[in-house]
Amino acid sequence: MDRYRGNSQAIADLVKGHAIHRDVYVNEEIFELEMEQLFPNSWIYIGHESQIRNTGDFITSKIGNQPVLASRHRDGQVYVMHNRCPHKGVKIASEPCGNTGKFFRCPYHAWSFKTDGSLLAIPLKKGYEGTGFDTDQAARGLTRIENVKIYRGLIFVRLADEGLSFEEFFGESLSTIDNMADRSPEGELEVISQPIRYMHTCNWKMLVENQTDTCHPMVAHESSAGTAVSVWEREKHNFTKTPMAVQLYAPFMSPYEFYEGAGIRVWPNGHGHTGVSGSIHQDYEDVDGYQDMMVEAYGKDRAAEILGDIRHNTVYFPNIMVKGPVGILRNFIPLGVDKTLVESWVFKLKGAPDKLYERALMYNRFINAPTSIVGHDDLEMYERAQEGLLSNGNEWVNLRRLWEDEEPEDTTEVVNGTSERQMRNQFYAWRKFMVQNMDQTVEAAE
């Protein structure tokens, strides 16, 4: 008997704010409902426009557990459709990216579709004459997804027919994407490399919460960042300047006071970011020529405004993190209740010096790769939590840090940077979008 399906009260009861029931991380039915409800109701990132520049280019992705396809049509537009042939359900595109030429062709029976998804041809078409096929959904080709928004090149999709508009969903949180793109003198981002991929045996939400967890780096990453600092202290007399690697690692050992002062900003609908008035990215060495390029592109004041806004991690509900000042996007892709694939992408800033791209690639390699000594300890924590939560000794996760009674939910506010407020903020949104448009089959809470 389903405990949660059709029972919005039971789902809502999992989120008290200062306490979250463990079922959100370990219960299979909740995971299925996230696939059926939460992901389709939200605006989900599927890729960047620069990955599909030319006519016939395509990328494949997933929204929840549904395979989707985005392609560049000859009218110059990007079309997003369900990646399944309307005949027997075969995935039309089987690779992460490519160019299909003038049309898609299903390898099973050669049904073909234009690059906007519309049906082009079926071999031996006379077999469908007078059968009523023209009234079938299949006759319209690959099912198109209408709710698509491309913002600064980032492609977002909402599967559900009804829901918040893109602007309503994201609101002012788009300022992080703007800042990231504006760091390019041409105001443009480019994806020119494949992501680093890292498999995790834990629930996807643990990863998202960790992005704004400022009380863990000095503890969990003591062995990595701390060792980097102590080795550097010992060896630095052999160097004439601080290597890029050390500049990236050392700030991870910043003390609690630093994070408290840097602050956290929450926004409505579950978005939020660490590093309001400063961040671990604020003291990187200047890159030759970059400042001049930015002043030339934007003028002195606007350049200072862009470069002075040095956020840390921005969580875009439900499942991506954007590290604006470095140019990294992490996509936490749910595969199962205890399985998540993380894809970490690096954006190149068009027109900016190569040194910035070199640094971003280095950061991604050090922190987000399966070989990362920082990643190793994070994954260890998540895996231990995934197992520990099966204990019936305590069924609740505690998010009480800096809780205030009657904490408002959908609001914009800046708070102490060690607060667990953003994690709570994500769960208020989770609760809201899980039950939106859900069929109610149970009327009262049991």
Partner: protein, 157 residues
Amino acid sequence: MTRDDLIDFVYDEAATIDQMRWDDWLALFHTDGRYWMPLEWQQDDPILQPSLMYEDRLLLTVRVERLAGERTFSQKPKSRCHHLMERPRVLSVGEDDGVYKLRTSFIYTETRGDLLERYSGWVGHELVEVDGALQIKLKRIDLINFDAPFSNIQLFI
């Protein structure tokens, strides 16, 4: 250096890792040595293209010291590894540039707790002679599945 010296070096280096003699392993690297695991088939640029690892001696030192730490949580319990290597092929004895080049096919196994993972690929060594001993200028690991998602890889292929 004879061909046998070069081949023995590759096997001995792998044994040093399998025996977890980390300081001895670090000492095999030239001061400008690099350990590189590309992210792409036939990748030629470790700087402006992404890699899984690209480390100099300083960073390898950080890794090795971290393995001995009391608060290295991802190493409780500790990982162990095993290198199974085909006979290394000597590609160059450095007549032109003094750099010895070898390429070796391998299966690498890493285990921790009840989990065990295997990785297949090729390791390329570029070695130079310093004070009569061989040192690693470049160790390059080309995994056959460089674009697959991995869980933690904690020791050294």
